[in-house]
Symmetry: C2
Amino acid sequence: MSTTTSSTGVTAPLGFRAAGTTAGLKASGKPDLALVVNDGPRHDAAVVLTSNRVQAAPVKWTRQALSDGRCDAVVLNSGGANACTGAPGFVDTHATAEAVATALGVGAADVAVCSTGLIGERLPMDRLLAGVTAAAAALDGSGAQGGADAATAIMTTDTVSKQAVAHAPSGAAWTVGGMAKGAGMLAPGLATMLVVLTTDAVAEPAVLDAALRAATRVTFDRVDSDGCMSTNDTVLLMASGASGVEAAAEELQQAVTAVCADLARQLVADAEGASHDIAVEVVGAATEDDAVTVARAVTRSNLFKAAVFGNDPNWGRVLAAVGTTDAAFDPDALDVSFNGVQVCRAGGVGDPREGVDLTPREVRIVVDLHAGPATATVWTNDLTHDYVHENSAYSS
Amino acid sequence: MSTTTSSTGVTAPLGFRAAGTTAGLKASGKPDLALVVNDGPRHDAAVVLTSNRVQAAPVKWTRQALSDGRCDAVVLNSGGANACTGAPGFVDTHATAEAVATALGVGAADVAVCSTGLIGERLPMDRLLAGVTAAAAALDGSGAQGGADAATAIMTTDTVSKQAVAHAPSGAAWTVGGMAKGAGMLAPGLATMLVVLTTDAVAEPAVLDAALRAATRVTFDRVDSDGCMSTNDTVLLMASGASGVEAAAEELQQAVTAVCADLARQLVADAEGASHDIAVEVVGAATEDDAVTVARAVTRSNLFKAAVFGNDPNWGRVLAAVGTTDAAFDPDALDVSFNGVQVCRAGGVGDPREGVDLTPREVRIVVDLHAGPATATVWTNDLTHDYVHENSAYSS
């Protein structure tokens, strides 16, 4: 196995190889095919898939493939989502998994498949299958570079690749690594994002599944770039057991959450056309559900998001969004602050809005419901000319 | 009473006078205060108010004032929403109603108040009260022009004033007239819109209330320009009984619905920054609720709306939005057409998207769920650079 000590992504944990290559699926000629292989000795895995009822062929395939908690490899392509392509599209996904299985000497039912790109078009299978062969050949000796190449090959409108790594909180000898793509269409129930997480900890599928669901609930599920939900979202966690150390469930969850949080913040920071990263923190909520509901209502307000783009601390639009929810609160008790300045106090005018500086990219809105002890934060972006431009000109 | 035969708005029915004037609430110096008076002989009324829990002072006042089913006059101002202004804001609304009552010789508790404009700022009451006096003085001899003046004085970012009229379907001698403002922040549960409807039919408050709720449910509640809900929405229906003819409940509902539908379409056609008016029609739904849910999900997709701005018949984004709902449908049975071209058939690729012409302002999307007989249409607009510009530069 190649050395992976310098990798900051999926090849950081022991037992994983990765590669990224150019199959020719993108008109731009940029890399578009990635492969991540778990060399074991164990092949435990868990997955969280989009909750959209319109699901791409690779999502349907991967749900089936992961149902036994085993995954030997995942193949990911950009340049085409293979969504809304009917039975022929599913046959294409199956053929892709078979090609990976043949190249690696594993079973096709243990190969996950992820796709991202335009909906409603068949993939050019001749190029894709040739790309699988090339990616498999590139695995050997790829080392740390393989993880970086894979992270690059899954990019669509992303401007930078996203990788993250976390070590066991206790200092135990295992690691969690990850990579992600996604730059727009980010939403709860997961975004147009593909995420592959790896660990060399020893962990049963049920432990992995619990850790992954707990992690995505407070990270990717709380990123809401534009309220849109994708047909292809996949977050896959594979465990090789190559460290020989069994992870405590709680510790594994912490490390997986740390990697997911890191990747989620990278997704927000690279969202299509955004000029501000906005954290909407709701405090004083009766329940965590209430806090999430209120935060989500604010992050989905186009009027609020456009105001932030214009550096306008428009707290009236925040209150208007809060008021659409059924969370517990008294409208006359609401406080709102923009970057530390409490512009709304007790449902009315607070400190002067002129005191708020919204020129930094990072914006923090705090809404205090004064209704209990619970809190939650949802991240979003501002609504900009570039968002409109990218999403009216880029057919995805 | 002045002649009203040529009015196309609130003064079209017998028994109403109206005026619009400039109180100086707007920096632009444009008209900003309107008065509509019901001279009777009857003063029955009904109102539908925003379902936002953060409610402006005039909304709280008007709910109270209308609780007995009587309304003698309504005063409306643009240039300030009087929302999130606490107890002092409510005192301002009360003082406004008292001023109208004094000028007209009616009870303050029978005067409705509506405000629109910036949230979180007190109104300049000296100017507003002087404006009330001026508006009351302008009522006499205002005739048909009074209705038009009132419709102009309630505009904010509206580029044109909105009026509508409908006659009794049976030919009975009564009429329904109306005016509206609202150009953005349009959403279900009503929009940032103020609507005043008048009729000279004889009708009890309960009959008016039933007609108004039935009408708004299928008109204003199905306009969703940007998913945002206002703190000030008000739709008021006043009946003078001046025709002496009692309206059949069913007929009254039809005429009120016709006026509401006309005004709703005018609101969409004048939405902030829009370059397309989009009707999303869902057919083949199991229930009307399902049809509305699916249509609303599509009309709230920023990605879909940006695609229409770019004249891109991106049916994948329609399917992705449909898939977020819990409506009854089989994803593999969905059909989608853009302006009559069925670009998606049975959940997959249909006719070539090149056949779709999205250059006209009017766009009609039809989604067939193939799950039942129910149907519904929701109207929205595209997401444009001008929308972002207006809502990042205009603090409202």
